[in-house]
């Protein structure tokens, strides 16, 4: 993984010291809350319902065991012994004390971590395919370009006060695991007819109040031109994006109102001034950064693994986990282990400090000391020997992290909702806990098949409900929590936005409503269909009929 150079280290250390002084000024009254608020947000510090919340960047989801141990330590020392994985592949802590944040940030800086740009109207943490660099279907590793984007966007003076926040996602596989089409900018790495890497550039996707699927404005962008082209897009957005209305300030609204063709023209015009200048990324710089992502020291192994087959034959629970949670790896004899942080009845994405420490130890033992945070709020060990999967699984069972529910209904995306978040209108965690308990039976989950259920506690859509095959949106209707249901969303290469079924459901009725949707699907599905296939074939009507027949 990338390691800080002197410049990175100095920048993060100096920022921690600077924020320490700003906190002192706030506590002494030299800074008012109005003056301090943008400063704390620039460092990822929010004031939520119960306390301050600190969001810590995990660049493109890549985390070392040393960093995970530090997060565990921070959870114990400065919080209440747990943290929460976010849909931006970050980690946040919910019970932070302002007076302790300077020490906390110094500790984070010691492991090359910080909260800079995890909030505010700037370029946020770039997210990536959680299987980057190891996926069997990958064309090109996106991490090197994510790192180039990180360096370019960190404290970029021109883009520190954009009309609104800005999110970039990158994938290098044909199967999109990074939801690139619902980002401000989505980048798909591929190869041109000569075999050279190229980017498809998608702009203006997004969720929130006004969801859009992004539009492709450049089919084949050479990597050397990536930063100049991104800069051109950001300049057009910075100039023309609306600042008069925060609900219309995201680039998706600009692209929609301008039209993709005109937006492309504006970008090309700007790009003509930038191309060939100081933003060109020389190949030797790409190679230099690429070296940080060189494959680890893999053993030479056959891809077939008799020991794994034998253990799967002996232990049905282990076989279920391998079948559901383990993915194919580029390297023969190795596998990608997806670790679900979605135990039935638990808050999705919450990890205790003890679990974090244990995961760090397991990453050292089984996956070259590295792991990934996924935007679905899970953890990935990218490089596990097939003959060691059983040992890993045994330890995960002890940690209550062996749920074999990846991409099944138990694998719910869920924002913190009204239990923590100052923006939320309704609780989301208790609803997710109820649904995961309701469908805890793995046999039933597998019978239902692949399904993405995403839930948000407000229209800001941190829980990506618009692109859940089933989406739940919590709203406040005259002081009562109400849950709207959407069907047919998808975040992958065939991305689509869910459609609302109709009137919302109470907290007691939303679980049974999900049961009704799934019973209807099981009744209607044809051989080999997943939920999304059946929905796309039959449409909304049969579901709507069943959901509202009794009303």
């Amino acid at each position: 993984m990338y390691r800080y150079d002197e410049f990175d280290r100095k920048l993060v250390t100096e920022r921690a010291e600077q924020f320490g002084r700003q906190v002192e000024h706030r506590l002494s009254g030299k800074l008012s809350e109005e003056q301090f608020r943008p400063l704390r947000l620039m460092n990822g510090l929010y004031l939520q319902l119960h306390a301050y919340m600190l969001r810590i960047n995990v660049p493109y989801g890549v985390l070392s065991s040393t960093q995970m141990r530090k997060l565990a330590d921070i959870g114990r020392k400065y919080d209440k012994g747990y943290g929460h994985l976010t849909t931006r592949q970050n980690m946040q802590f919910n019970w932070i004390k302002l007076e302790e944040t300077p020490d906390l940030l110094r500790e984070l800086a010691s492991v090359e971590m910080h909260g800079i740009q995890s909030s505010g109207n700037c370029i946020r943490n770039t997210t990536a395919d959680e299987h980057a660099g190891v996926a069997a279907d990958e064309v090109e590793d996106p991490r090197v370009y994510c790192e180039i984007i990180r360096q370019w966007s960190t404290l970029h003076p021109e883009f520190s006060f954009l009309p609104r926040k800005f999110k970039i996602a990158v994938t290098g596989s044909p199967h999109d695991r990074a939801a690139v089409k619902v980002h401000d900018i989505g980048l798909i790495l591929d190869r041109d007819s000569s075999g050279h890497p190229i980017f498809e550039v998608i702009v203006g996707g997004g969720l929130g109040r006004t969801p859009f699927i992004g539009k492709t404005i450049r089919e084949e962008l050479p990597p050397s031109e990536l930063l100049a082209y991104l800069e051109a897009i950001l300049r057009v957005y910075n100039r023309f994006g609306r600042r008069d209305n925060k609900y219309k300030a995201r680039i998706k609204v600009l692209v929609h109102e301008t039209g993709a063709e005109e937006f492309r023209r504006l970008v090309d015009e700007e790009y003509a001034n930038l191309k060939g200048g100081s933003l060109d990324v020389p190949q030797d710089e790409i190679d230099r950064i690429d070296a940080y992502f060189a494959p680890p020291d893999y053993a030479e192994l056959p891809d077939e693994c008799a020991a794994l087959d034998a253990k799967m034959g002996e232990n049905a629970d282990f076989a279920e986990w391998v079948d559901q949670n383990v993915a194919c790896h580029k390297q023969p004899g190795y596998a990608i282990a997806n670790i679900s942080v979605k135990m039935p009845g638990h808050a999705p994405g919450d990890l205790s400090s003890d679990q974090m420490d244990a995961l760090a130890d397991l990453a050292d033992r089984f996956s070259f000391g590295e792991m990934r945070v996924t935007h679905r709020q899970n953890i990935v060990f990218t490089d596990v020997r097939k003959d060691e999967l059983y040992g890993l699984w045994q330890d995960l069972v002890k940690l209550e992290l062996a749920a074999a529910n990846l991409n099944l209904i138990g694998d719910v995306i869920c924002c913190p909702g009204l239990d923590y978040c100052a923006l939320a209108n309704a609780r989301s965690i208790p609803v997710a806990e109820d649904i995961t308990k309701r469908f805890a039976d793995l046999k039933r989950q597998k019978e239902i098949g692949p399904l993405e259920l995403n839930m948000s506690g407000c229209i800001n859509a941190c829980g990506h409900h618009h692109v859940g095959n089933i989406g739940i949106l919590g709203v406040d209707k005259k002081g009562e929590e109400l849950y709207q249901l959407t069907l047919g969303g998808c975040s992958h290469e065939d991305a689509s936005l869910g459609v609302r079924t109709g009137p919302g459901f109470t907290v007691d009725d939303i679980g049974p409503a999900i049961e009704t949707v799934l019973d209807t699907y099981v009744e209607l599905r044809e051989h080999g269909e997943e939920f999304i296939d059946t929905y796309r074939r039959v449409g909304m009507d049969p579901f709507k009929e069943k959901l509202y027949a009794a009303r």
Binding site: S28, A51, G479
Partner: protein, 98 residues
Amino acid sequence: MPQVIIANRLTDGRVVFLADGDAWASSVNDARVEEPGAGADELLSIAQRLEAQQQVVGAELIDVSVDGGEILPTKPREAIRATGPTNRPDLGKQAGNE
């Protein structure tokens, strides 16, 4: 409907309620309750003065019901702030450690 002042303490962000004698209480049951109008206006004015002294952030009036001496915020958001996350009874004021 009766009202109390809710805020976050500046130093640690913890939820507090304005009590008698310009003090901040951790429990909503120790809050000073006033009816809307002059009483609530006075509460707000005290809270704003204390906020200007950097004691708290985001002080605001909220509606409560008073039942047998127990003070209950009427809206879910403030009820959760007064107790803690509903999925974690071991945390927050409801756990007695705030």
